[in-house]
Symmetry: C2
């Protein structure tokens, strides 16, 4: 028996929603049922420009999407300051929630969202695409090999891109009332996530922020951070809207290292590469991992598969994904707290 596809509603016409709409249409187990925007005209154009099925409904409000009984799940690409209210309302209306990152302004807000999802029995996932690329699983296989990589000792990650003058003037990600975490919440989210992924999602003990740069409204445009764990492992990262596109993870272990230079967005859609140096000969220096679907479609496929199991089989929501989002938010919050305390080390509390 083929399960019916998971029916998505989309809240808003953000730029990133173009990519995720395509992903929903590419994934084998999902479809777009509705889009809502405060402007019906904008939603209509968006649906047309992005090849929505003729059956897709177009609404002039977000509420209408949440009230549509034919919508199983919502994708929420709204500004971060709106996540709390709309994600909670979506969960209360029994919609599964695929939420753009940063998922919340802080972990306190996130906990309200996660509690709403849990009490409604809906799946939560944040829209961090690279986590779903098969390269990510292959890299983890390499890292888990005690003969190939050994014990992890140090991690470094960079994610930066140049927000041009338009971006720095008007993008929601530099507006204190919309995405108050700025580059830390945007590109820093990926660095924090990558570091936690490398550390098997063990939270660090201390986090210290380093030299943020701000815009006139006080939003972070770039910053660094260092993290340390009780076992002596360390990580450092740099996130920025002010420097050229760079997307690095470098991991150093007792027997091997790993480098990837396009971790957020592979330079090709159908394959991605990572580089290792290792005592073990089982791993070539350059490892290419093919994928039949782009990583954003694999993300939608995984999310829709979990939703399908809940709908069709009565399964419980998968806790792995909200747990990863929460730990990432905890690290982002700790960097922010360290900045607020004049760059003192902040003890990480789960």
């Amino acid at each position: 028996m083929v399960e019916p596809p998971v029916r998505f509603g989309i809240l808003g016409c953000a730029n990133i929603a173009r990519k995720v709409s395509r992903a929903i249409l590419l994934a084998p187990n999902s479809t777009i049922t509705a889009i809502g925007s405060r402007s019906l005209e904008k939603a209509t154009s968006f649906a047309k420009e992005n090849g929505f099925p003729a059956s897709a409904k177009v609404f002039g409000s977000y509420d209408a999407v949440l009230d549509d009984p034919e919508v199983d799940a919502v994708y929420i690409p709204l500004p971060t300051s709106l996540h709390l209210s709309w994600a909670v309302l979506a969960a209360q209306k029994k919609k599964h929630v695929l939420l753009e990152k940063p998922v919340a302004l802080n972990v306190k807000e996130l906990d309200v969202i996660l509690e709403a999802c849990e009490s409604s029995g809906v799946q939560f996932m944040d829209a961090t695409m690279w986590a779903h690329h098969p390269r990510t699983a292959k890299m983890k296989e390499y890292l888990s090999g005690s003969a190939s990589f050994g014990q992890l000792k140090a991690v470094h990650s960079i994610f930066s891109f140049v927000g041009g003058p338009d971006f720095l003037n008007s993008n929601i990600r530099v507006k204190p009332d919309l995405d108050a975490l700025g580059a830390l919440g945007d590109t820093g989210w990926y660095c924090a996530h990558a570091i936690l992924w490398a550390a098997d999602y063990e939270l660090p003990k201390f986090v210290t922020a380093l030299s943020p740069e701000y815009n006139e409204a006080g939003v972070i445009l770039s910053c660094g951070a260092s993290l340390r764990w009780e076992d002596g492992k360390i990580a450092t990262f740099y996130c920025s809207f002010l420097t050229v596109l760079t997307m690095d993870i470098t991991l150093v272990g007792t027997k091997g290292n790993l480098r990837v230079n396009d971790f957020v967005l592979p330079s090709k859609e159908d394959a991605a590469t990572f580089y290792v140096t290792s005592y073990s000969r089982d791993w070539p220096k350059e490892n290419n991992v093919a994928t039949d679907l782009p990583q954003e479609a694999l993300m939608v496929k995984e999310f829709a598969s979990l939703v399908g199991s809940i709908k069709g089989l009565g399964s419980k929501p998968e806790k792995k994904w909200p747990n990863i989002s929460r730990k990432t938010q905890v690290v982002v919050d700790a960097v922010k707290a360290s900045i607020d305390k004049g760059f003192e080390p902040v003890e990480v509390v789960s």
Copy 2:
């Protein structure tokens, strides 16, 4: 008129002296005139095994080398704790000084060495080989391009190798009475130097150490550090004897980035590669820089050329090299001070 070659004396038979002996013989303007060891037998074997000219003298003491009027310059690969006495004595005997790194246990000691060199009018240089590879100059050319790289914002460097059980038991670099700075003085020296090189040798304002690991005698086997400058630029590094061979510099600028994965020792002798991403099309992604001599021979050639100018033309010693050594030592000292202060940020004082 062809200048006569600069005549080197070598103090001790350290392993690294094999490589530098070969470099002295490869360089067009230098030769080996003498070697001294506390064991005449060891020095004799060393001279034979490393193809010294038949005319090279073999001495059973370091003093004999310093007293030989046919020696113009000495290469000192002794343990760091012996640098102060032997480098000062060499300078007093009017020998030019090529000194292994770390050049001293701290900047106070280094200043005594540098003052001795200055008052004797002899050239000082530390034996950091990669600084002399033409790749290094080519990378600097890329970094200096405002159209290609823009403004430097973040640097990360890693230099680690696995010291096996023998190394960790008995190498001079893990002995508190010989090389008390451990991995920080050894591999960390290269990271600090690389970061300063990237920052055009401007000292950072603050340095903070991160999670050192020690051996039973309290010598550092690995550690991290973060550095920040007044203009907001940051750098981080990781140095270690405990993780797989990794030799990275990653630089992020407003218009370009640069990555090199074998900065300390290029994987080939006749060419070396660095990678860039840049707005400017003048620089390909992969840049290969050929060299007619290995980097250690280019180091000797540069040192001998400066010595030749002093001897032949009465030139003053070149201050660039002692200045770089001193700034590197200042950063290493600051990391050590931060460790001693419980990982507080240490203000860097030149």
